[in-house]
Symmetry: C2
Amino acid sequence: MHKNHVTLKDIARIAGVSTATVSLALAGDPRVNVKTRRQVEEIARRLKYVPNEIGRSLRARKAETIALIFPNTPHNAFSHPYFVQLLEGITEVVVRHSFHLLVSTSPTESDEAASYDKILRNRRADGIILWPSSIKDDNIGRIVESGFPVVYLGKWHRGDVLTVERDDFGGAYMATEHLIRKGRKRIAHITGPLDFQVSIERLEGYKKALLDRGMPYDPDLVVEADFTMESGHDAIVRMQKAGLEYDAVFAGNDRMAIGAMKALQSFGRRIPEDVAVVGCDNIEMATMTIPALTTIHQPMREIGTIAAEKLIRTLTGQPVEPKQTVVPAELVVRESCGGEDR
Amino acid sequence: MHKNHVTLKDIARIAGVSTATVSLALAGDPRVNVKTRRQVEEIARRLKYVPNEIGRSLRARKAETIALIFPNTPHNAFSHPYFVQLLEGITEVVVRHSFHLLVSTSPTESDEAASYDKILRNRRADGIILWPSSIKDDNIGRIVESGFPVVYLGKWHRGDVLTVERDDFGGAYMATEHLIRKGRKRIAHITGPLDFQVSIERLEGYKKALLDRGMPYDPDLVVEADFTMESGHDAIVRMQKAGLEYDAVFAGNDRMAIGAMKALQSFGRRIPEDVAVVGCDNIEMATMTIPALTTIHQPMREIGTIAAEKLIRTLTGQPVEPKQTVVPAELVVRESCGGEDR
DNA sequence: CAATGAATTTAAATCGATTTAAATAACGCT
DNA sequence: AGCGTTATTTAAATCGATTTAAATTCATTG
């Protein structure tokens, strides 16, 4: 084991004053005599005193800690391509405010409710950032509306809950609009599984862009896949077999877009001359394909910083405006979408 | 704000007993009367009592929390391809033992020392998992040898510090050996920056494999790059310009390997017929190149679970054997390394 | 020098749970 | 009933820091 902790009491004993004086001195309270304060500071420095934050937290009734919570489902946060960037954004803000970050998953589905409750009530954290489960979940509702400080990463309808969300709809709209501007007339869309909200949002954005430009929406050109590269590949194969005509593909994520590109190339269709392709997510690999993939970038790091800022502002009693933030997506133009109109 | 916390005192008042009895009852202590215990449990359930862990921690002098710490350098953990998997492994174990995980970076270079010290002494965490800085760092030494419970993710020479490390040397050895077995005679090596330990390990593994098979080590075939795809590309260009002959390339990571593949293909060299390529890391993209990239997989998730297990065993007073663990790398054979000997 | 007010310091309570030693209650037995 | 046991319960201390109200010291002035 290692040596014991230096406490206020130790400093008080050595300085020959009370712990109250030491506490006030180290807090820079003007009530303590300058000479006394200097002496206390000196001793604290010499003993390498570091306040025990557990003791402090107990008294202050706050932990200066926020928690990032996500359910431990199969399609969980760990498999999200940009979880790390979210975490990086959160971390940056947390460190800047001298807060701590607790990372927490709910262990099993069954006692998920209990687990959330504990995190909410055991006072380890003062507030939480909630990464939504893909599954519809009443417990999340209960937490979000419990009044406990929460920032929800997604859309929340009832009440004025703090939220930060990606603009999946807007991103898809931008992607589709871009293809239209490039003169594409028949734009196919490969969706992710349609029981994911993100897939629905992107489909709607695609539809709206077509509508706004007076282009027909053809359900035959929409094929559902499952986010994997293989499924993107298969989607194109199916479309080819069905004899469909199209001059562009907007895919619901980059993996599917890359699979689609491979399939298109195997059918001898040139990208972007014959078919333009746009993806979503801006994963690293999108820069490395030939041609490099045009895609929609979702600024996850920024979502992290905004979420953490909102939560910490709430905890420190500062006003938070707006309650809901939609972080705009960005179109990243590369070679796969056609340089010039045809 | 939200309503106040239910405390032991509340339960005690309602049950008409002392807080001591409540505490003992909820802990299942046999000294309390079964009837009393039942009643206390019932009230606790009705009030949704959740113990305040801050209070408990203060008394118990432990936080049931471990911290994952990494320095906030430019080449930090967030940019490591497998940080997420490490985190996932750690999280799994932490949850299983009902511990908490604190994720922490040191804010700036300058007060890195102070920052470490704080985390060590402020009692927020009982022990730490330390992700090494790329930079040589005396503070890390101080922590590791302070006697504070630490698991170091890397090689540590002095003392019997707990460590878990990847086998960079062994992975490179396996990769090179595989190429030799495939009949390759002149194997080039594209290294990462040689001020990174990982680059040196992999270079040494490469050398050793050649040596063990009686093959000459030719320094001209070793070129330094910087882990990026572009630098891998440039490395091949330089080698071609220098008129070097080689029939295989072992790259210090997958990104450089992919860059190298592109460059090779642009020079009209076929993969794997003319040149075999092997990478390191097994990033997702390695499955998507044409041909798919043979590579070395480092089981980061397992490193995470082992590290967390070691730390928690230490904290709970269980023996930990062995102190040092080297997690073996795995060769993932795909198409880029030549199916048959020539 | 005493009185008044200002400057410092400190005793004690508090946060919430745990634990130990001591007190009280209940029980069995002669 | 009285005594020795055993079963339950509880008062009080503790963890470490903060904070308030009260106590003390110091300085100033009439």
